[in-house]
């Protein structure tokens, strides 16, 4: 029985690996030796080589650190403001009536569209880069916090009224814990958005350091291997960040589950 399961698993993994491996072989064939039909396209070996070169100097880590720092500041600003905004709109129907229509109107503008305006206002500095990332992080957390707060079960609120919980105590003890799953979804989405917009921020608002800068540099020098290496780096970093946040979210959920049981 156990062997059967393992077999099934190995088979599944083998199927999943097929496509990347075939593509990799084709890539190598078409870029090396006699089949080399695209001169511009680097071979997989060359990309790997570029990675080795990149990791042997300090500049590459510097680019990565700059990108991470940028995305983290934008993300933190975005989720703190977005959370407060969502909480306010969720708690007060009047606040919702005042802010929601304008919020939804502004939200219609594709985020990228803000870039020319904020460049005009703040120049090609760090501020507009962080600002655009925080705008991107703002929407998902605001929407999800709002939805979470609005969907707090009625009997929780009734219980809170019995215990005479009011104001800050009510928010901290009842509303935020009840809305937590939705808030966490918002945070995960916000992180994804921040990471996606980071690339646009670094490519459109030129900067000295950043992975986007590096990809752009590769393009300017017609060094495609550098471009591909940059793309792989961004993908891997984004993936590990998402995994990390999902792990954290699961840990928080588990903690919460235990508390509900108690």
């Amino acid at each position: 029985m156990k062997r059967l399961i393992i077999n099934k698993r190995t088979k599944a993994v083998a199927v999943s690996v097929t496509l990347p491996v075939v593509l990799l072989i084709l890539w190598q064939l078409f870029t090396c030796g006699m089949f080399a039909s695209f001169k511009l396209v680097p071979s997989p070996c060359k990309v790997l080589n570029t990675f080795v070169i990149l990791f042997s100097g300090p500049a590459f880590l510097h680019h990565i650190a700059a990108s991470l720092e940028r995305v983290m500041s934008g993300f933190l600003i975005g989720i703190v403001t977005g959370f407060s905004f969502g909480l306010l709109m969720g708690l007060s129907r009047t606040a919702e009536k005042i802010f929601a229509p304008s919020f939804h109107a502004v939200r219609q503008v594709p985020m990228i569209g803000w870039i020319p305006l904020i460049i005009m206002w703040f120049g090609m500095t760090e501020l507009p880069r962080v600002l655009i990332i925080s705008i991107a992080a703002f929407y998902p957390i605001a929407l999800n916090t709002f939805a979470g707060v609005r969907n707090v079960p009625r009997h929780y609120l009734e219980l809170a009224a019995v215990y005479d919980y009011k104001g800050w105590k009510l928010i901290r003890r009842i509303i935020i814990p009840a809305a937590l799953p939705s808030i966490i979804t918002g945070i995960t989405l916000s992180l994804g958005m921040s990471w996606a917009i980071l690339m646009a921020a670094e490519i459109f608002i030129q900067t000295e350091f950043g992975i986007g800068t590096q990809i752009q540099m590769g393009r300017d020098r017609f060094n495609m291997a550098l471009v591909v290496a940059g793309i792989i780096t961004v993908g891997l970093l984004g993936f590990s960040m998402t995994m990390l946040v999902e792990k954290l979210a699961k840990a928080v959920e588990r903690e919460r589950g235990i508390r509900t049981e108690l």
Partner: protein
């Protein structure tokens, strides 16, 4: 039901923020806090929009952008749709493509842009490819989810009637997955619109994004803000139209389910 009272209070409350913004904006202009290069009077914005519309420049740029959205969206959404259906129906193909596509999805779309430009030049083709990448994923994911969620009894019924693949697709799969597919279309069209603006900001000689870059380079902030209003309005209209379609199709589904229950 139809005679719901017009909610004056909500409408008035909704006006507070726009009015405050306009007042602050106008007073900042009147008090000359910032230079005209950074902040234009609200009325200038209106006259710029009118002027751009009257000269035909705006219409031309909007049409140019829309053309790109339509071609990119059609390419991206149709491939996402086909792959979504195929992957939801065949566990083998799901395993074959799933992890690979998921890995590719980790790369933010904008990171592909320099690569696409290196490979295909900075022409129309590069923009369409870029937009179609943006349109691809939401369509793929939502179609997959919709088709996977088609109840087993529908499949069974199709087997009983011995439906041919073509009939199976048009009578069972697509109607069953329709709400999800329409959500996919809506999301994918929205992203296409954002990416077309991005592609045009990057390098173009026409389109709304180009108009905004041009305005920025000439320090004409009124054109940049006018561009923002235009892309926001178009994004809103696209979303609203498809949302109407969405509720319509959902209504149909609810009534059918209601009768069968």
């Amino acid at each position: 039901m139809f005679l719901t009272r017009f909610d004056w209070k909500s409408k008035l409350l909704a006006l507070i923020v726009p009015l405050v913004v306009l007042t602050v904006w106008q007073s900042l202009v009147s008090l000359h806090v910032f230079s005209e290069l950074i902040l234009i009077p609200p009325l200038t914005l209106v006259s710029t929009l009118v002027e751009l519309a009257r000269s035909g420049e705006l219409t031309l740029n909007i049409l140019e952008s829309l053309k790109r959205v339509v071609s990119g969206f059609l390419v991206g959404a149709s491939s996402g749709f086909i792959l979504g259906v195929v992957m939801a129906l065949s566990p083998f193909l799901n395993r074959l493509f799933g992890p690979f596509l998921k890995a590719l999805q980790q790369v933010p779309e904008f990171a592909w842009m320099p690569l696409i430009i290196l490979l295909f030049g900075i022409d129309e083709l590069a923009k369409v490819i870029f937009v179609s990448i943006g349109a691809f994923y939401p369509m793929l994911f939502n179609t997959w989810q919709g088709v996977s969620g088609v109840p087993e009894k529908y499949h069974e019924l199709a087997r009983v009637f011995d439906y041919k693949p073509h009939r199976y697709l048009t009578k069972v799969i697509i109607p069953g997955a329709l709400p999800s597919i329409i959500t996919g279309i809506r999301l994918s069209l929205g992203l296409s619109w954002m990416f077309v603006v991005g592609a045009e900001l990057f390098g173009s000689d026409s389109g709304v994004g180009y108009m905004m870059t041009w305005g920025r380079q000439l320090f004409q902030i009124d054109i940049v803000i006018a561009g923002l209003v235009v892309i926001g309005t178009i994004g809103f209209l696209m979303n609203a139209l498809l949302q109407i379609a969405e509720t319509r199709f959902l209504q149909w589904r609810v009534s059918i389910d209601g009768r069968s229950a």
